[in-house]
Each structure stands twice: as C-alpha cells, then as structure tokens.
C-alpha cells in the first residue's frame, strides 16, 4: 500500500487503522472490478434462453432452491464482493421495473465489461469508454424503437399476449405446460387490468401454491384463496351469497392501551366483572350478527368462548388471516376493513357469491376459497406441483409472465426475441460507430461486439456452434435487411422470429440496455477500492 511520509520518514495516517485496510488503486482496481463483474455474468450465462440450465442454491439454513431466474439466483447466492453486489442490484432493479430479462441484463453487463477490459489494456481512459458506451446505448435504444412493432390485442383477442408470455415461460422448468400457464397469466392480468388507464396493479393477483397434484392442475380462481380454515370444526364448509365482515380487532375483551388495573376486593365486584365479561362477548357477536354478516374474517384470534358463541349463532368465522390477505379480501369483496366492533355497519360488509372450504390429499390441509366476489378485480393463481421447489420455481416463472403481460398492456410495442433485436442493434451500432470521431469510436464498436454476447450465449446454450450461427444470422439480417432473424434455439427450422412467434417487450429490452450500460459506467469510474482487510 502506498503511504505518504513526512520529512522525518514517519507515515501520515490518513485513514483510520490504515494498515489494516487493503487498498486497490488505478488500473488494478478497474481490472479487479471488471473481473468480478464478469465472474457474476459467467455464472448466469448458462441460464440464458430456452435451453438454459438451472442453478441449485443451498441457503445458509439448508433449504434448496432450484431456479434459472437471474434475480433469484443472484439474490440467494449471498455474494461478498462489492462489485458483484452491484450486479445483484442490477438484476434486482430489472426485476422491479420489468420483471423479466433479469438474466439477460447481467449477461449484457458482463459482456460490456469484458469489452471494456480490452480497451483498458490499450490504455484508453475509462471515462472515455464510459462515454462511448453511453453514446452507443442511445443508438441502440433508438434503434430498438425503430424496429419495434405495435401489436394489437383486445380483451377478447388475447392470443398475441399468450404468445409473448409463452416466450417468457419457455425458458423455465414449467416449459411442459407453458401454454396453459401463459393463458392463466394473461387471463389473470386482464382480469385486474385497467385498460383505460393502461395500468395493472399486480398486487391484486395473488399467487398461492400447494404441494401435490400435477402442474396441469394449476388453476386461475376469480376470487381469493386463503390458507386457513374455519375457526370451529363444525362450522359450515360452504356459504353462498356470503356477507363478509372483515375485522382487525380480536374477539377478546378489550385491552386499553393505557395501563390500568381492575381490583377485585368484594364478592359483588367479582360477580359483576364476570357478567360484564359475558356481556362483552355476547355483544361482539351480536353486533356482527346485527349488521347481517354471514361470515367473519378476523385478523386476530378468538377466545374459546367467543368461538363457540359464533358457532352457536351460526356465524362462521376465520381467524388469523394475514394483513395482506385481509386487504385483498376487502378489495375483492368490496368490503371495508373494520377496526372496531362499534363501527360495523351493513354497507361495510363485503359480498361474495360463494365461500367454500376445500381439502387436499391425505393430510388435513384445507384452504378457503372466496369466489364470485362483488368486485371480480382480484384473482388468485393456485399452483399445484410435485414438490416444494417446483412450486417455488413455478411461482417465479408465473411472476415473470405476469410482468410481461402487464408491460404489454402498458405499452404494446414489441421486439422479436431469440437474440434478433440484439443482433440488429449490434449491426446498427457498428454502422453508426464510424460517424463518431475520437476514442469513443472504439468504445462504440466494442459495445456492438458486446451486444453479440447474448445471441452467442443463446446459441451456445442451445448446443449450436456459436460463432457459425451468429455470423450466419447476422449476414442474413444485413442481406435481407430483415431485423427479425434470430437464433433458432428450439430447432424449429426457421430463423425468422416473426414466424416463430417469439416476442419480447420493447420496454424490457430498452431497460436492459440502459440499466446494464449504467452499471458498467459506474464500475468503470471506480479507481480506488478501500476495504477493511480480514483478520
């Protein structure tokens, strides 16, 4: 480590506990950072595309996750390197913004870093590289806009949407029934979509899973499923035209927030208190009954006595329902969440056409279905599958598919997949590079090379000869000036992604390019890494 010395040869102390910190500066720092970023990208590279492989991750507690969703892999990997953490952030932000393409964005960033390394070795200043990348990303961004197509769908014609979701699902393990799942995802999104405002609130779609059965048994329920059962085993298992009181107060005597004591020192007081208590329970139940509720859903527990009274008055009840679920139920049934018994009123009740309890398998698992709600704008996707990991992975895949469908409703522009968009951008950026004088030209050209990394990885994962395939497709694109040629991963026989119906959303692709460029710029700008060294 470089140290500064005063005129007597004693070192200046600049950082606290300077000797204990390791420090990396200049080109070394940049190289180390680039290497770390590349290492992360290399891990995800094999997961890209329809023939991508999965990763098995074991958490600190020994739970196993199998997935090929980039964001999930990186999140679970528990990385320690600072730059690697940036890459994790990158895929996470893609996940939050778009929901899909989390693997692609990291692979893209890795490729950009790889190219940057070569330029650094030539002695080009990192900032110039960053600027060149920025210019190139603009070009690519605009070019994507240019090659994108509007694509029409209506609430009745959902076929195009289903096709897009199928592209997303084809890279996942649920490949086997991607058609059914894609349809479920699209229907779910359309059910909650606000086509006027072009917005979709994904919170209204609940994804619930239960082990057992087959993947094919996965279903879309127009309503809510709660993993709870009736509080009393003898309550009715099915309620039609339910009026639901949604409560966040327990069926228990009140607990005032201020500290207090009730002293009992005479027999009269003892009896009085006892009567009071009974009256209290009675009143609570009566209130629910009075407003006309036929089902009580409560966030808290019930006392045994209250439970029996509810049962007695023929008022089925569900207890310990989580806050999020409670909100969903309130939205779906059009009811209001009531925090106090005094505030219950008939108009605050939610309505559902059918509430039923359904049991599964040989164990005592039961779930509560709330269907035919007043406001059908909340739906549940209920996933079945052979084992826990399968369900988790299906949940993640469906989440991706839902996001894609939502993005399409927000903005119905699409680009074609299979690497065709990247190849086309690469051609465009390459062509544009010559127009820029200066060092940036090199960086722009490198950017074009980096764009090739995604189709290369696709071809490699599909067992094709990467370079042969890529060059063939590229020359085809230029020759036929057809920007829709891509890598034929599934051996269908045609390169034209338009014929194969492989789409991706325009905003997803644009976001990928922007985000990865930003992160690479950030990494390139770092020239000093100071970290406390290990003991």
């Amino acid at each position: 480590m470089a140290l500064a010395f005063d005129e007597y040869g004693r070192p200046f102390i600049i950082l606290r506990e300077q000797e204990k910190k390791s420090r990396l500066r200049g080109l070394d720092a940049q190289k180390a950072n680039v290497a770390a970023g590349k290492a992360v990208a290399r891990i995800l590279r094999t997961s890209l595309g329809p023939k991508g492989m999965d990763k098995m991750l074991q958490s600190p507690d020994g739970d196993v996750t199998i997935t090929n969703d980039g964001a999930t892999i990186l999140e679970q990997m528990d990385v320690d390197n600072q730059i690697a953490k940036l890459m994790v952030e990158l895929s996470r932000s893609q996940d939050y913004e778009i929901g899909d393409g989390t693997t692609g964005v990291v692979v893209m960033a890795g490729a950009l870093l790889e190219q940057a390394e070569k330029l650094l070795e030539r002695g080009i200043h990192p900032i110039r590289i960053a600027e060149g990348y920025e210019l190139a990303s603009r070009i690519a961004f605009d070019h994507l806009e240019h090659i994108s197509q509007k694509f029409e769908f209506t609430a009745t014609n959902i076929e195009p949407l289903v096709q897009t979701c199928m592209t997303t699902l084809s890279s996942k393990i649920v490949h086997r029934c991607k058609r059914a799942l894609a349809e479920i995802a699209v229907k779910a999104v359309l059910a909650v979509a606000d086509l006027e405002r072009k917005d979709v609130n994904l919170d209204l779609i609940k994804v619930e899973g239960k082990v057992g059965g087959k993947l094919e048994d996965t279903e879309l329920v127009y309503g809510i499923i709660v993993d709870k059962d009736m509080s009393h085993p003898q309550m009715p298992k099915m309620i039609e035209d339910a009026k639901i009181a949604i409560l966040t107060c327990p069926f228990e005597p009140p607990k005032p927030k201020t500290k207090h004591k009730v002293d009992i020192d005479t027999v009269e007081k003892f009896q009085l208190l006892r009567e009071q208590e009974q009256k209290y329970f009675d009143e609570m139940v009566q209130k629910c009954k009075d407003v006309g509720a036929t089902l009580v859903i409560c966030q808290w527990g019930f006392d045994d006595e209250a439970n029996h009274l509810l049962m007695h008055r023929n008022l089925p009840a569900v207890r310990w329902v989580g806050g999020v679920e409670l909100e969903l139920i309130a939205i779906a049934t059009g009811g209001r969440i009531v925090p106090r018994f005094q505030e219950l009123s008939p108009e605050k009740l939610g309505k559902a056409g059918l509430v039923r309890e359904k049991s599964f398998g040989t164990t005592k698992d039961r779930m509560l279905y709330i269907e035919k709600c007043a406001n059908s704008r909340a739906v549940t996707i209920f996933i079945r599958g052979g084992n826990k990991m399968m369900i988790e992975e299906t949940k993640r895949s469906l989440h991706d598919a839902l996001c894609v469908a939502r993005n399409l409703i927000r903005n119905n522009s699409i680009v074609y997949g299979g690497g065709s968009a990247e190849i086309s951008c690469s051609v465009a950026v390459e062509a544009a590079a010559d127009r820029y004088p200066g060092v940036e030209q090199y960086a722009i050209r490198s950017f074009a090379d980096a764009l090739d990394a995604i189709p290369l990885a696709l071809a490699e994962n599909s067992g094709l000869l990467p370079i042969d395939t890529l060059t063939a497709v590229k020359s085809q694109q230029v020759k036929e000036s057809n920007p829709y040629c891509g890598i034929d991963c599934n051996d269908v026989g045609t390169n034209d992604m338009k014929e194969q119906d492989v789409f991706e959303t325009l905003i997803g692709k644009q976001q990928q390019i922007l985000l990865s460029t930003q992160v690479v710029k950030m990494i390139l700008k770092i020239d000093d890494v100071i970290s406390p060294s290990e003991f």
Partner: protein, 526 residues
C-alpha cells in the same frame, strides 16, 4: 485473479462436477431405500439424535427419509418428493425415490455419452407421457360392480401390507382396512378412523370396533355404563374461570374476604355445572381439566364426566356423536347434543378405556392395534395408515392396476416402442427411461433373493404377448399371473410415482451449478 465472490465457507460447484455431485447424492439416497422395496424388502433401524436415543424400525420410505439429515441438495429434492407422495396418496414413497434414482443413473450414462441434459429431459418427458397413456389404457375400473370392487380393494390392501410388518396377517388387516374405509362412504376424511395402539397381545388380537374408543378413565363414583347417552362435548375451563378482562386482579385485605371470594368462585362453578346439567345430558366430555369439585357435582347428578380429551379427540368425538363443541352454556335449547347408544368401560389388556357404541355417524370406527412392543405397534400403525390412505384414494379414483412389476413392464414395453419410432438423440433417453422402469421389478426380485436377470427376461418375453398379466411372484420365485394371484395396485399411486419421479429428475438434470451458502453459524450453547 478474481477476489472471492462469495462469502467464506460458501462452496460453488460447476458443470460436470455439479452434475456429478447431484447424481451421486440422489443415487445414494435411492440406494439407501432400495432394499426396502417389495414384499421381501428389509427394514431399517433409525436412531434419533435427540434425548433418549429413541429407536424406530420401519420400511416406510417416507419415514426413513424424513428422519435423515441430508446435506446434499439433490438428495433433498428426492426426500421432498417422497414426502409429497406420502401426503398426497400415502403409499409408494419408496418406489418414487427408487424410480427417480434409477432414472438419474440412466441419465448419468447418457451424459457421459455427451448427450446434452436438455435432450435427455425432452426424451424423458415424451417417455413419461407415453408411459402414462399406457397405464391409462390398461387400468381396470370395477366401479360398477361393488363385489368386484371390494375384492379389488382387498387385493390392493393386501399388496400394500405385504411389504410391511403386517404381512403375516395381511388378510386379516386388509379386511380391517377395507371395512374401515368403506364405512367412510367415499370421503377421504381419515380422521373418522381412529387408530389406537395398546401394547400386549399379538398382532392378531387387533380388531376393528364400530364405535369410538376414548383412552380415558371414567371419574370416580360415576356410572360405568350409560344407555342412550346424551353427550355434551365442551371446550371450557372447569377449574376456576379466569376473569378475561385485561388487568383484573384480586385484591383482598382480610382472611374473611378470601373465604368470601372463594365461596363466590365455588358458587360460580356450581352455577356453571348446573347450567351444563340443565342441558339434560348424562355424559359430559371436556377438553380441559375438570377439577375435583365439579367432578363431584357431576357424580352427584349421575353424569359421566370425562376430562382432558385432547383436541383431536374432541373434534373426532364431536364428529362421530354429531354434537357441537360448546364453550358457553346459557342457551341449552340451541346446543346440539351428541348421541350414542351405549357408553361403557371396556378392558383392553390391562387398560380400561371408554367405549362409545351406536354412534350417530356410522362412518366412524376405531382400529385397536395390539402387538408385542411399541416399535411393532408404531410400524403397524404406519403400515395401516399407508393401506388406509391408498384405499381411500382408490375409493375416489377406482381405477386399478396389477402389481408385482406388471405396470412397470407394461410401461417399459410402450416406451420401448416409442423409442424405436423416435428419430434423433432423444430416442436414447426414451430407451433409458424404459430401462429405468424395468429396474423396479429387478430390485423387487433382487430383494427377494431371486435371479433377477433371468426373471426379468422371462417377464419381458411374457409381456410381448398381448394382454399379458404376468408379474413377479415373489412367493414362488417365478413369473406368475398377477390376475390370478390377486396382486393389485392403485392407479393413482402408480401415476403419482411416475409423474413426480420424472419431475424431480428433470429438476436435478437441469442444474449445472450448485452454490452452497455458508452455513449459518450456530451459537454455541456450551
């Protein structure tokens, strides 16, 4: 050189190594339970690490795997599918793991032949679909004919039990299980079947009781036998009722006051008891404790009071007697009471139990298991549970298959056919699938000490004929007619085995990298 990406102690395995690690882990698990497969399968002893080092003897795959502490992530996948199989259909927990293991063994060979895992998966998928269709085609359905259906059920129960400890008396127990399940009349609610274990006697002394037996004693001085009982099932505190209003406490300043309050408490209890008696009952069953004082009051009124039935017991009682579970007693007219013809005390071995017969819900019954030791009883219970699960599932899905390796051979034949028709590398995978299917009868034969190579080839030849019903007859050690021998299996179980094994293998094959995070450090309690 790149700095470490991951935290210390984290392990990252890639490509071939990762695949090897998961293959080896999964196959090790499959080999572990392999020897328990089939009627001549052996048992395992499991010793827990907990206090007491309690010992379990079992050959139930799910039980064995559940108690293992496994570190290999791929092995965990297999444990998981076995668990799900147990929850869903109750039986076939060993078969599913063994099939998955065999599939992986075949897949490993293919990977070594440089076939890409994705191609293998595609082949396996096609093969699984084809095998399922073959099963669907061959499944028999005797739903219409109740006599035949009953004999189907008997056969299934006997086949399931024959690999368990109960195999000596399998006919007897199969009969018990079928009776119990048929009483349920189609519901899969196994709660109504109570299994009671009492050490002593021999397994043969086990019996099915039509009523309900509660492992409790009748309070002192209370009637030992009640006819036409009216039962109130309750969940209420019968000690002192706590005041539930928050912050209440009793504060007294003299001994006299203490006595007063005590008297008031007693008075309150007396009132409560009177209210309960006011329901016009002659039997009172409570989930919670009943103190001496109320017990005495009940005895005085000639009411049978039973305390401390556990929660499941209470629910089941309420279910079978058709009464409500009550917690307040102010409106006697609206509480539904439970009914049964006779309540009496009976003796099983040394213990006195309470027997409810002639209960309202005819579906309920109790199976009393007798046996030489706790271990035997535990294993017997597990075996019986398996049989009951399978039967109740079969009642719902009445399709039946032959056993003894017959379904595997049928599937293998169809899958082989498919392999011949399929061009491309996939056909290797399809062929491998068929080999893995044939491994199951091979293992059954091996476990029985038979010459598996000879038997399987005979079996295959036999199956080349149309409509063959040949399978392995472990008893005589040759190829036998499964139809005549009456060895049957439930279609649902076989289908679940096939599908979940394929699914699990697919998951494991798709992995090309394993990242194991640093284990969470446990704080030393020492």
């Amino acid at each position: 050189m790149v700095d470490r990406l991951l935290k210390d102690d984290a392990i990252q395995e890639k490509g071939e190594r990762a695949r090897m690690a998961s293959f080896i882990g999964a196959m090790a698990i499959a080999d572990l339970v392999k020897t328990t497969l089939g009627p001549k399968g052996m048992d395992k002893i499991l010793q827990s690490t907990g206090r007491g080092r309690s010992v379990t003897v079992t050959n139930d795959g799910a039980t064995i795997l559940k108690s293992l502490h496994i570190d290999n992530p791929a092995a965990k996948v297999l444990v998981d599918i076995s668990k799900v199989q147990d929850d869903e259909v109750g039986d076939g927990t060993t078969s599913v793991v063994v099939l998955a293991g065999e599939l992986l063994r075949e897949a490993e060979k293919l990977v070594n032949m440089k076939i890409h895992p994705m191609t293998i998966i595609a082949g396996f998928r096609m093969a699984a679909e084809c095998a399922r269709n073959a099963l669907l085609l061959k499944a028999m359905d005797n739903k219409e004919d109740s006599d035949k259906f009953r004999s189907d059920l008997m056969n299934i129960a006997m086949t399931t039990l024959s690999s368990k400890i109960l195999s000596q008396d399998k006919e007897y127990f199969a009969d018990l299980a079928v009776d119990a399940v048929l009483r349920l009349k189609g519901s899969t609610n196994l709660e109504a079947i109570q299994i009671l274990k009492k050490p002593g006697g021999s397994l043969k002394d086990s019996f099915l009781d039509e009523g309900f037996i509660l492992d409790k004693k009748i309070g002192l001085g209370q009637p030992k036998r009640i006819e036409n009982a009216k039962i109130l099932v309750a969940n209420t505190a019968m000690d002192t009722d706590k005041v539930k209003i928050y912050g209440a406490r009793v504060r007294v300043d003299s001994m006299a006051k203490v006595a007063e309050i005590e008297a008031a408490e007693k008075q309150k209890m007396r009132k409560k008891v009177q209210k309960i008696i006011g329901h016009g009952i002659n039997c009172f069953i409570n989930r919670q404790l009943i103190y001496n004082f109320p017990e005495e009051l009940f005895a005085d009124a000639g009411i049978l009071a039973i305390e401390h039935a556990d929660f499941e017991g209470i629910e089941r009682l309420a279910l079978v007697t058709g009464g409500d579970i009550a917690s307040t007693f102010d409106n006697p007219e609206s509480v539904k009471l439970g009914h049964c013809k006779v309540i009496e005390e009976i003796m099983i071995g040394e213990d006195r139990l309470i027997h409810f017969s002639g209960v309202q819900m005819g579906q309920a019954c109790t199976i009393v298991l007798r046996g030489a030791s706790e271990h035997v009883l535990d294993e017997a219970e597990r075996s019986l549970h398996d049989a009951l699960c399978v039967l109740s599932q079969t009642v719902n899905d009445t399709r039946v298959l032959h056993g003894g390796g017959w379904p595997e051979m049928v599937m293998a034949k169809e899958v082989d056919e498919l392999a011949r028709k399929t061009p491309g590398k996939k056909s290797h995978a399809i062929e491998a699938f068929s080999r893995a299917l044939q491994a199951i009868p091979t293992i059954i034969a091996d476990n029985a000490g038979l010459d598996s190579a000879d038997l399987i080839s005979q079996l295959r030849a036999e199956h080349h004929k149309e409509q063959s019903t040949a399978g392995i007859d472990v008893i005589s050690g040759g190829v036998g007619d499964m139809k005549e021998l009456g060895i049957s299996e439930s279609f649902k179980v076989k289908q679940a085995v096939l599908l979940s094994a394929t699914e699990a293998v697919e998951m494991i094959l798709r992995v090309d990298e394993i990242v194991t995070c640093a284990p969470r450090r446990r704080e030393d309690r020492m």
